[in-house]
Symmetry: C2
């Protein structure tokens, strides 16, 4: 069984909600020893929804899996001293702290660095000036909710998926690993900072949307489930299920026409109307017409029939699935997928993902359970005492 | 000026669309020398929207910034040999290949590894079995589109933001850096694999949604712009702008009541109706009522007035902004933010983000321009020739 590519790295995590816990969980899934500290009785996300019927948080369980959990009272001097010692514990793989808490006072980089010169500290904030912000307040400002959802909607559409938090969690790990590699080469530690709104607005820039405003003056409006800049749209099947069909490339467009037996029809319609379906811009501009012309084929077939018809054709498509349908119908979300296994957690036994990353030499750490809150308090404090005694030994 | 924490690392990128280009760009922003190869005349994403009025892709520009671009004809034996040599070039920081192309034939890990034993190769696929899939087909299957958008909508709501691609781009860099650290410690290279649907479905699991289905049998339905499991909702302001208001914590809820002068009203309504607004579950269950009771305050104030009223109060909120409003009104998306600078790209000069990661010792590489397609073909081939001559020298 793989111990993971980050075996030997220990990260102390002071966090709540999505971004920082995601970063810690990502590290734990790669084999790092991630120790999350919480106030006795649990932090701000201890009861975050979804909950079980008995009031346990499935959210907390999902994001703490594979970590060790300790309960420490940070309002006490003793608790602060314990966490400071833990963060700055001697040892090559130690001295790494990741947090989305305000990095002030005893928890500041300066104070902790004074105890371990080569400390690596990753601090996640809401905005680049250190002020706070959450995914649900950054997202409305990003521009995306105003450009998605039903056509002609006057109300913007929020995303249910906390994408910015999740992206920031990944980038925080990128920062941590880059800093660790630097420390291993030079002996130097450092402070790594990342802000949620920077992550969101940088992504807006990467995807060309800032340039579009500045160079073209345009501002996109909601366009339903159509793909932007190529053909893609949703279709209702016989039996009330829906599918998403995408034709980004010429090859996908050709495959779609062949599978739905609409090649001749599209040629005739192009000739009759002057529409040019031969490149992605033409297919984007003709997206309403294309969808209208394809609707009957989907309406005549059930999802199962469509699945069978499209298999191996090169058509790019996917079924719409609720979470329940995903879990109950999709073999990619089952133990047939080597990433997933059934794991017994304190809140119950459920299908649990390991890291999506698989390493041919270092392997993949099997999915691990989430801890009981405070499960490892005694164990970790004993390790701390033992490390202190070793350091004091003659 | 910082050369970046990954200065000295060279990554060859064979890619198109979002995920792999995002990974390469993330590396380039940290100072790696990222060389993207494309077919002469450009790859599949060379004209991806948004476009300028003269037909240049702002998408391509955004995702290739800071990279070197080479045009190589992969249908020719010479082109394949050049890319193989480039990927397996001698040198400590070399021998790293990242791709979302089918890793078959001459481009397989085995073939390339035969030329450089310690090769690191990161391969991004659609599904874990290697079959293809794009963000726009994975997302409908993830469950999120069926659980978001307007209440009572029978049509699912796609996200405009390619979240899965962007998350996978970050995780691919995590995998690459972990493998690089492993190689630097042991001399061993390896194949790192990651699949888009694994990234999506693992995230569904991390957020507790798989457990919710399996343990509770529930399947959430679209709930407009309400936050899940706590209070959060959108409000129309005087003058037609909208804001998102969030009260995840008790402190935020208290701040919201104080700022809107509704404390007494909420106490009276709680007493009269039996609603319990004192914890997040109670506020979630009472979200319609809470929003209704707060609406008048927002309707009476303009966005500017609300901005002024809420500043420094601890209320968690954000304005809805279109992409244009983000660029024109939000100081966080301007040169006032150290992450952003105006950069001259081949397609025009626009506000361009550097990495959201800032390193206190290694610094942050200033935002760089995107290349002209093939701008570095001659330069890179000359480096390859020179490396070959050095290797052949007695």
């Amino acid at each position: 069984m793989s111990e993971g590519i980050l075996n030997g790295v220990r990260v102390i995590e002071g966090s709540a909600f999505v971004a920082a816990p995601t970063a810690g969980m990502t590290l734990a899934q790669l084999g790092a020893d991630v120790i999350r500290f919480d106030a006795p009785g649990g932090g701000l996300d201890w009861k975050r929804w979804p909950l079980t019927s008995s009031g346990e948080s499935l959210f907390w369980s999902g994001l703490q899996k594979g970590k060790r959990s300790i309960e420490i009272d940070l309002r006490s001097d003793e608790g602060r001293e314990q966490i400071s010692q833990l963060i700055t514990m001697p040892g090559e793989g130690n001295g790494i702290f990741m947090t989305n808490f305000p990095a002030r006072g005893w928890m500041s980089y300066e104070k902790l660095k004074a105890r371990r010169e080569d400390l690596i500290m990753v601090v996640m904030t809401g905005n680049h000036d250190g002020s706070s912000e959450v995914d649900y307040t950054v997202n409305p400002s990003s521009g995306f909710p105003s450009a998605m959802g039903p056509r002609h909607s006057v109300v913007p559409t929020n995303s249910l998926m906390p994408a910015w938090d999740t992206i920031m969690g990944g980038l925080a790990v990128v920062g941590l690993l880059a800093a660790l590699r630097h420390r291993e080469a030079t002996g130097e530690g450092q402070l790594v900072e990342i802000a949620l709104s920077d992550v969101a607005f940088a992504t807006v820039g990467h995807l060309g949307r800032i340039a579009e405003v500045q160079l073209e003056g345009t501002d996109p409006v909601p366009d339903g489930n159509y793909l932007y800049g190529a053909f893609g749209g949703d279709f209702l099947c016989r039996g009330d299920r829906r599918v998403m069909i995408v034709a980004l490339t010429s090859r996908q467009w050709k495959a779609l026409k062949v599978a739905t037996e609409t090649e001749e029809m599209f040629d005739a319609v192009a000739a009759a109307t002057g529409h040019d379906f031969s490149d992605e811009a033409g297919r984007y501009l003709g997206r309403n017409l294309i969808r209208e012309l394809l609707k009957p084929w989907f309406a005549q077939h059930t999802l199962d029939e469509i699945r069978a018809s499209l298999a191996g054709t090169g058509v790019s498509w996917g079924p719409y699935q609720t979470f329940k349908q995903l879990v109950e119908e999709d073999p990619r979300c089952s133990e047939a997928n080597p990433m997933f296994s059934m794991v017994e957690h304190p809140v119950g036994t459920y299908l649990t993902p390991a890291s999506p990353l698989n390493f041919s030499v270092s392997g993949r750490v099997p999915a691990k359970p989430s801890p009981h809150l405070g499960e490892h308090t005694d164990e970790v404090l004993a390790e701390l005492t033992s490390a202190g005694e070793q350091a004091a030994a003659p």
